[in-house]
Structures are given as structure tokens and as C-alpha cells.
């Protein structure tokens, strides 16, 4: 029983991070109908920038968060300006390959700067609360709180602000939105900036739980993408829930089935979901 609860709690935290990274996929897919395969690498770059920031400050500081998020937004703007902005109208395969290229570039730039896995400094002043025989780390609480806050902000942004409504209009019908005076290329920038910010947040939050390493991007990206599909790639809360389902299943499978095949569980779940309901748990048939 303790093992089960412990695995659930760990899975919840990791799942929330998958959910955050997956939101990046969801936002891009919702507005442009393309997959950004570099999303996992954005997560990795975010984790790296967080590592650098917190190592320099040596303590928890909101300023580091703000600086890293601004840097993430800048990176998004540069990549849209150089690559994505030119091909977001192309077919999804062209875009997917170009984004894989961008991901490779990001991964190898970070690899040149920092080739070894590094542990984060203890920024969240880790404390472990014990409830009976179950241990809850403060980091897990941080992860869940920040994720929930971000999701709420995103939902508010998409449904309450003019910009968010404009983006939803673009995803419905790009040409019509353009005719009605919405600046489509501007919404492309916004979509990538938001997806970069949520990915980076995921990267900073996973830092204290795991190690930072330059090659963590692609695998996390694929799992996050699986999470998005399991939950339903068109739905923001669905994506988060997909992430949590994936994180929890993976952790439980690691404990009860086989720790060696832990990574395969995510993909088996994905294929199962695609066979049963490709639009995801919260997806509507289109």
C-alpha cells in the first residue's frame, strides 16, 4: 500500500511535468496544425538555463525564473523568425522535419557548453514530509502548484483575453481569421512563445527531481507528445490529465511490472490509445 501511494505521488509530479511539456505541443497543434518536434529540446534548454541561473544565484530567486522565461521567449522568437515562420503553412511533414533539425541544433549547442549530466543546486530547500510511511517531498508540491497555476492562466488566456480568442479563431480557420483583421503571423509568434515558456517551466521544475543532461530532450518530448495524444491534443486540461495518467502508469508499471521496461510502458499506452480512441480521452472526433 505504501509502495503504491509512493509511486502514485512520484508519478503525479513527473506526470504534471510531462503535461507541461505536452502543453507546448497542444498550443502549437491547436493554432497551426503542425507538430513541433523541438518541444522536448526547448524543455531541455529551459532546464539548462535554469541550472545556470540557480547555480549562479546559489539560492531560490524569482528573478531567475523571470530571466529564464524571458530568455525562453527570446529563443522562441528567434526560431520563429529564422525557421518556423517561413514554413508554418507547409505540410506537416515538412514542418516536423524542420523542427527536428532545430531540435538537433539546440541539443548540440547545449552539449558543447555542458556535456555532462549535472545536479541542480538545492533551490526549493527540499524538505520531506512524512504522512505515516509515505514521504512527500516539497519539490512535488511545488511542481503541482506551479503546474496548476500555469494551466489556469492558460485557460484564462485562451477564453478571456482578446489575444487568446484571436488565437482560437486562427486555429478554427486561418484564412477567415486573417480576413477579419487578425494578424496571423503575430499569433504564430505568440503560440511559439507560450509553448516555449511552458516547456521551459517544465524543464526548470524537473531539474531538482532528476539531473539535467543535454540528451534528456528527445525522450521527454516523445513521452510528452504521447501524453498529449492520450489526453486529447486539442484540449488543454486533457493534455495535463494525459500527462498525469502517463506519469502515474509509468511509475506504477516501473514498480509492479518491470523497471527495465518502464520507458516502453509510455509507448505501449500510446499505441493502445491510438487503436482505441485516436483523438484522446478528452478529444472530440473532428
Amino acid at each position: 500500500m505504501e509502495v503504491l501511494l509512493q509511486a502514485l505521488i512520484g508519478g503525479l509530479a513527473v506526470g504534471a511535468i510531462y503535461g507541461l511539456v505536452a502543453l507546448g505541443f497542444t498550443i502549437i497543434y491547436r493554432s497551426l496544425y503542425v507538430i513541433n518536434f523541438a518541444q522536448g529540446h526547448v524543455f531541455m534548454v529551459g532546464s539548462f538555463m535554469g541550472f545556470v541561473g540557480f547555480s549562479l544565484m546559489r539560492r531560490f530567486s524569482v528573478a531567475v525564473f523571470i530571466f529564464v522565461l524571458i530568455a525562453a521567449a527570446m529563443i522562441a522568437i528567434v526560431t520563429v523568425f529564422l525557421v518556423y515562420g517561413k514554413i508554418h503553412r507547409a505540410d506537416h511533414l515538412t514542418f516536423a522535419i524542420a523542427s527536428i533539425g532545430v531540435g538537433i541544433i539546440m541539443e548540440n549547442i547545449v552539449r558543447m557548453i555542458c556535456p555532462d549530466p549535472r545536479a541542480y543546486p538545492d533551490i526549493f530547500r527540499e524538505k520531506v514530509y512524512s504522512v505515516g510511511d509515505i514521504f512527500i517531498s516539497t519539490q512535488y508540491i511545488w511542481v503541482l502548484a506551479i503546474t496548476l497555476a500555469l494551466i489556469t492562466m492558460l485557460q484564462l488566456f485562451f477564453y478571456k483575453t482578446k489575444m487568446g480568442k484571436a488565437m482560437r479563431a486562427v486555429s478554427e480557420d486561418r484564412d477567415m481569421a486573417s480576413l477579419l483583421g487578425i494578424n496571423v503571423s503575430y499569433t504564430v509568434y505568440i503560440a511559439f512563445v507560450i509553448s516555449s515558456i511552458v516547456g521551459t517551466m517544465g524543464g526548470i521544475l524537473i531539474g531538482p527531481i532528476y539531473f539535467f543532461s543535454f540528451d534528456m530532450g528527445f525522450m521527454t518530448g516523445l513521452k510528452a507528445f504521447s501524453a498529449a495524444i492520450i489526453g486529447g491534443i486539442m484540449s488543454v486540461p486533457g493534455t495535463l490529465i494525459g500527462g498525469i495518467i502517463l506519469g502515474v502508469t509509468e511509475n506504477l508499471g516501473g514498480v509492479y511490472v518491470s523497471s527495465e521496461f518502464k520507458d516502453a510502458i509510455a509507448f505501449a499506452l500510446l499505441i493502445l490509445m491510438l487503436m482505441v480512441k485516436p483523438t484522446g480521452i478528452f478529444g472530440k472526433a473532428k
Binding site: I35, L82, D91, F95, I97, G101, I104, L222, L270, P278
Partner: protein
């Protein structure tokens, strides 16, 4: 017209002779790279059939390539079968895996299909890594025997080059035949207008699975050739990046263009190997190639009219002969 045809024949003859004497012209390393290009060509031709003719995108071909390689290696090492039996069996096993992937894939299309193939490739890779009892896990398999013909062992790149040359020419010939056959026409019909194809009685399910199976057999054969050439295989030789590289080659080659695919495979294999000189910057170069290539050649290099280039060459020759006649 007749004259230009004979000039084209001369060009083909020249290429043929060049291919035959290639091992004596280039150094050891270049030959090594060319052998890889030949093996990649076999895999990418199969992927090109799937991508260009049936419109199914797979980022999982390294799985079939790996299944072929492991099957062939294990069959020769554990059961002591000769290469010439292990190679077709590797193709058959990869083909069966192709059926396994094709059937769930029928329900999904586009983005979801891409995801299914990625999931499949990841699972196969993880199984290779973790199922130590069968695949020897992260230690890989060493000492895979070189193929023999009679008592003649193909253990050097020069000898193996001819084996790969035969197989890649065979693959080119087969693919050209398949594409021009009723199968190819039906696949194109399904890709262009699935509903219309259905309405004139094309069994779309059957042909989509068939394309998947043909393509995975090609990948399996490629994998077997790879395993017996390098004699050492490791799960990382078949990870998702390998799938990505295959897909990139197929996309750069352009849809439905066999000469385009051939050119793309050769250029990209050479680029991947020769970027090694750049050390750490190598992968950045590759990333730039992908991103910029997609911006400037979104349709692949197959759309560049090769016939027009050959025509230009032919015209150059002709104008030269005409000039010499005038003077």
C-alpha cells in the same frame, strides 16, 4: 532523339563501369561510406514507397532495420544458419513485424500514424536494450560472421562492396518495377483520392498493408546486410535517430522519385560521414541541413528535373560536336 538516347546510354554505361571499378579508385574510408550508402538506399527505397506512393509516414523504420539486423545475426550465430538463408529470413521476419504495425496503423492517419510508428520504434529499441537473454542487451552482439560464396569469404570492404552493389541495384530494379506495376498505380490512386479509389474497387486496406510490408522487408534486408558488414550490432545502431535519418533521406529525395531518393541517400550519407571532421559541430551542421532544406526544398530534390539536367549535358556534348563539325 535517337542520338540523345545513345548519349544517355553512354552515360549509363559510364556510370556502370564507374560502379564496377569504384573500389580501386577510392580509399578505404570512402568505400566504407559508399557501402553504407548502398545499405541505406535499400531501406530508404522501401520507405519511399510507403511515403511517396501510399502517403503513410513512418518514423519507425529503424525498428524494421534493427529487427532485420538482429534476426540475421541471431540466426547465423545461434542456429548456425548460413548468411544466404538468414538474409531472406530477416526480410520475412521484418515483414511480419511490418504486418503487426500496419494493422493498428490502418485506423489512424497522418499525425497519429507518425506517433504510432514512433511508439513502435521506441518499444522495439527498448526491447533490444533490455531483453538481454535474446539480444545480449546493451553489450550488443559481436562476431557476426561475414557472408561466404562457396569458400570465398566476403570479409573486406572491397569484397562486400560488390555484394551491396548487387543488392542495391536489385532493390532499385525491384522498386522501379513495383512502382510501375498495378500495385504502384493502385497505391498512387489511394494516396491521391482514397474514396475514389475505393469506389472503383481498389481494396485500400490490402494495398496499404502491402506497402507497409514491402517497405519493412526492404528495411529488414538492409538491416541484415548491415549486421554482416559491421559484424557488431548494438541497440543504438537502430534508435529513433536512425529512423529520423531514413525519413529525412526519403523526404529530401522527393515524393515518387527514385532517382531523387538515390541522390539524396548518397548526398546525405556522405554528408553525415564527412561532417565528422567538424567534430562537435557535426550534428549542428546536420540540423541546419534539415531546417534549411525544408525551407528551400520542401518538395525534396526529386522535383529538380533530372531529365532536364541530363538534357543539358547532352546538349553540351552535341553543341561541342556540332562546333567541331563547323570548324
Amino acid at each position: 532523339m535517337k542520338k540523345s538516347k545513345s548519349t544517355a546510354n553512354i552515360i549509363y554505361a559510364f556510370i556502370g563501369v564507374l560502379l564496377l571499378i569504384l573500389p580501386f579508385l577510392c580509399g578505404y574510408y570512402l568505400l566504407h561510406v559508399i557501402i553504407f550508402a548502398g545499405i541505406n538506399l535499400i531501406v530508404v527505397l522501401g520507405l519511399g514507397l510507403l511515403l511517396g506512393f501510399s502517403g503513410q509516414v513512418s518514423i519507425g523504420h529503424a525498428a524494421f532495420y534493427g529487427i532485420g539486423a538482429y534476426a540475421s545475426a541471431l540466426l547465423t550465430l545461434k542456429l548456425g544458419l548460413p548468411f544466404w538463408i538468414a538474409l531472406p529470413l530477416a526480410g520475412v521476419i521484418a515483414g511480419l513485424a511490418g504486418i503487426m504495425l500496419a494493422i493498428p496503423s490502418l485506423k489512424v492517419s497522418m499525425l497519429y500514424l507518425v506517433m504510432t510508428t514512433i511508439g513502435f520504434a521506441m518499444i522495439v529499441w527498448i526491447v533490444m536494450f533490455r531483453w538481454s537473454g535474446l539480444t545480449n542487451g546493451p553489450n550488443g552482439i559481436i562476431g557476426i560472421p561475414s557472408p561466404t560464396i562457396g569458400g570465398f569469404v566476403l570479409d573486406s570492404p572491397t569484397k562486400y562492396y560488390y555484394l551491396v552493389l548487387v543488392f542495391s541495384l536489385l532493390a532499385l530494379w525491384l522498386m522501379t518495377r513495383i512502382v510501375r506495376s498495378a500495385i504502384g498505380l493502385r497505391l498512387m490512386a489511394i494516396f491521391d483520392q482514397e474514396e475514389a479509389a475505393k469506389s472503383v474497387g481498389v481494396n485500400t486496406t490490402y494495398f496499404k498493408v502491402l506497402a507497409f510490408v514491402i517497405s519493412s522487408i526492404f528495411a529488414g534486408i538492409g538491416g541484415s546486410l548491415y549486421a554482416h558488414y559491421v559484424t557488431f550490432i548494438h541497440p543504438d545502431n537502430f534508435n529513433i535517430w536512425v529512423s529520423v535519418i531514413f525519413l529525412v533521406m526519403a523526404v529530401f529525395g522527393g515524393q515518387r522519385s527514385i532517382p531523387g531518393i538515390t541522390t539524396a541517400v548518397i548526398i546525405l550519407t556522405l554528408a553525415t560521414e564527412y561532417f565528422r571532421v567538424l567534430g562537435e559541430y557535426r550534428m549542428i551542421g546536420y540540423g541546419l541541413l534539415l531546417a534549411l532544406g525544408m525551407i528551400y526544398f520542401p518538395e525534396g530534390i526529386g522535383t529538380i528535373k533530372w531529365s532536364s539536367i541530363i538534357n543539358i549535358i547532352i546538349r553540351l556534348f552535341h553543341s561541342k560536336t556540332q562546333n567541331t563539325l563547323k570548324t
